[in-house]
């Protein structure tokens, strides 16, 4: 079969949670460009509005951690062919200080929300034997390896997210619904800029420690999404595809370089200095807890020493 036909997504209806920013936005853009129709939801209304205007797709605000938010999504979006569970967050602090709030918030957004949202959308996912409906979870390589940092809830939630389709796949497959996970490595997103502390803010540390010496491009996340959403990937069920440049396949870079990322000093440190149990030190006492939990008057995480509200555009909290 010709590629154009095999990977065709024209006319398919996609719903992407967290499609207003980061990887979600990249996916939305690629799908719109190839003739799919897209709805996105997010919590930051200005960003949602901007993205939906830029991409010419449907956008609305909804907090999918609440029952009302999920209901709102189902009411607005209705029947779909592909559901992409992309919305996610991360909180980090040292092990003995990692609070219940951090844990609940992370698990709530990364794990509980996709589960309940998928449940709510089941009546609206109509697949046939020839073309099953598709659910794709956006996971992370952090589900498999802890490459650095101390985002305990994040690792646990992503591992659980990756496991969710295993359990449910058999029942869903009989209703012609495919459920898979994409475990992503580093892509140029807000979450990555949070991790990145290289001097020129160009992700050079992250690139250096990726086996392919780079971060992923837009095309490389769109490709697997289109693959799983079209006829091409319909024989893949309940599985994970890792798109990371080889992070979990190959730890050589970490081993030979002998460095690890210290979350708090945000430096790559020699592995010899890492002792167990790790004694993390906070870089600054006022270091906020998580990317999405910063007050307007807190310092921005980008190390610019500016207040969050005065920092560059995409950090604006609405």
């Amino acid at each position: 079969m010709k590629i154009k036909e095999l990977f065709d997504i024209q006319g398919k209806r996609f719903f992407i949670t967290g499609g207003h920013t980061g990887v979600g936005r990249m996916i939305a853009e690629g799908i719109v460009q190839n003739g799919g129709s897209v709805s996105i939801c997010g919590r930051r209304s200005a960003l949602v509005q901007k993205t939906s205007q830029d991409l010419l797709c449907t956008g609305f605000t909804a907090d999918i951690t609440t029952d009302e938010g999920i209901k709102r999504c189902v009411d607005i979006v209705g029947d779909i062919d592909v559901l992409i569970n992309c919305a996610g967050t991360s909180f980090a602090s040292q092990f003995d200080e990692y609070s219940e709030y951090d844990w609940d918030k992370t698990i709530g957004i990364n794990l509980t929300a996709p589960f309940l949202l998928t449940q709510a959308f089941l009546p609206h996912l109509k697949g046939t034997k020839e073309q099953p409906a598709v659910i794709i979870n956006i996971g992370s390589t952090e589900a498999v390896v802890a490459a650095g940092g101390s985002a305990y809830g994040y690792n646990a939630s992503k591992a659980a997210l990756m496991h969710m389709p295993f359990k449910l796949q058999e029942n869903l497959a009989k209703q012609y619904i495919n459920w898979n996970t994409l475990n992503l490595g580093p892509f140029d997103t807000e979450l990555l800029s949070f991790l990145d502390q290289s001097p020129d803010n160009d992700n050079s540390h992250i690139k250096e420690h990726n086996p392919q010496k780079r971060i992923g491009t837009k095309n490389e996340v769109i490709g697997p999404i289109i693959y799983l959403s079209s006829k091409a990937g319909q024989y893949i069920k309940g599985r994970t595809i890792e798109v990371s440049g080889g992070i979990t396949a190959y730890l050589g870079n970490y081993m030979t370089k002998g460095n690890y990322l210290d979350w708090h000093t945000k430096q790559w440190m020699p592995i010899e200095s890492r002792t167990y149990p790790y004694k993390w030190k906070r870089a600054k006492p006022e270091d906020p807890k998580g990317l999405f939990d910063i007050g307007k008057d807190d310092l921005c995480l980008c190390n610019s020493n500016k207040k969050y509200k005065h920092c560059h555009g995409e950090h604006l909290w609405k």
């Binding site: 590629i3 893949i236 069920k237 990371s244």
Partner: protein, 274 residues
């Protein structure tokens, strides 16, 4: 990027081993249809069938015994007569005997391991030069090893193919090791682990094999894998769309291994090869 460009394999030189029939032939047909320059190589014993397949698909026929390093070197020389590089190397040739534990002999064991595991290493080693030739960070070469769900899980308690299971499992891990080594040379190594495809390897499984039961009860997809399923996975891994996928095992099994039905229903006796 548009789908045609994102997944394009146009003009890429692909070599597929064991492609005179089965999954290899399916892959060859999909690559050929989408404009790749396809070479299929099979054991000299199967040369006639291979030439027939090459004629059918309008691709090129070569011979190689992948268990023999000298033969692989000869294949490289043969291919170099018409190509100066290879973009996609697909290590697909493989086989399995179902011989019970008490009966398997050293030479049988050796043959299974050589054909399924050793061949992947030496094919990749000998083709490294041709794979590196045109590989750049923007246009990566691909090595795709065809593994099996048998290398991931014990898909049958009655199954006596211990050597095959061990070899496929080894092959999956070898892929990761090679991926780590070759990523610096801009070569992506990945594995595809197919589940049930209707090929000789299933057809000859023996007396109790029943395709309907196999599809309806054991496979949540309710069907066998088809050429498009395996072809699309290869196209993903060898195009721009998949260039950030490294050292990965892509399971193309219609949900077979994640469903709980499979484990005690694989019924096998006898012998098959592919």
């Amino acid at each position: 990027m548009e789908i045609e460009h994102l997944f394009s394999v146009e003009g890429k030189v692909a070599l597929i081993t064991g492609a005179s029939r089965g999954i290899g032939k399916m892959i060859a047909s999909q690559l050929q249809e989408n404009g790749a320059k396809v070479y299929i190589a099979s054991h000299p014993m199967d040369e006639e069938e291979n030439i027939q397949t090459a004629k059918e698909l309008q691709c090129h026929s070569l011979t190689v015994d992948v268990t023999n390093v000298d033969s692989i070197k000869q294949l490289v020389r043969d291919l170099e007569k018409s190509e100066d590089h290879v973009d996609i190397l697909i290590n697909n040739a493989g086989t399995c005997f179902d011989t019970s534990l008490g009966e398997i002999e050293r030479k049988d064991w050796q043959y299974i391991i050589d054909l399924n595991l050793k061949s992947v290493f030496f094919m990749t080693q000998q083709f490294l030069f041709l794979l590196m030739k045109n590989a750049t960070p923007e246009n990566r070469s691909s090595v795709i090893n065809i593994g099996s769900i048998a290398g991931l899980e014990n898909v049958g308690v009655n199954h006596d193919g211990a050597g095959y299971f061990a070899a496929k499992s080894g092959q999956h891990h070898l892929s990761k090791v090679l991926a780590g080594d070759l990523v610096q040379q801009h070569i992506n190594v990945n594995t595809i682990a197919p589940g049930p495809f209707e090929t000789g390897i299933l057809g000859r499984r023996g007396i109790d094999y029943n395709p309907d039961m196999f599809c309806e009860e054991m496979n949540p997809s309710g069907r066998f894998g088809e050429a498009e399923d395996i072809g699309a996975a290869v196209i993903l891994l060898s195009s721009t769309a998949g260039s950030f996928i490294v050292g990965e095992t892509l399971v193309v099994d219609g949900g077979f291994t994640v469903s709980s039905h499979h484990s005690n229903k694989w019924i096998t006796t006898g012998k098959y090869d592919e």
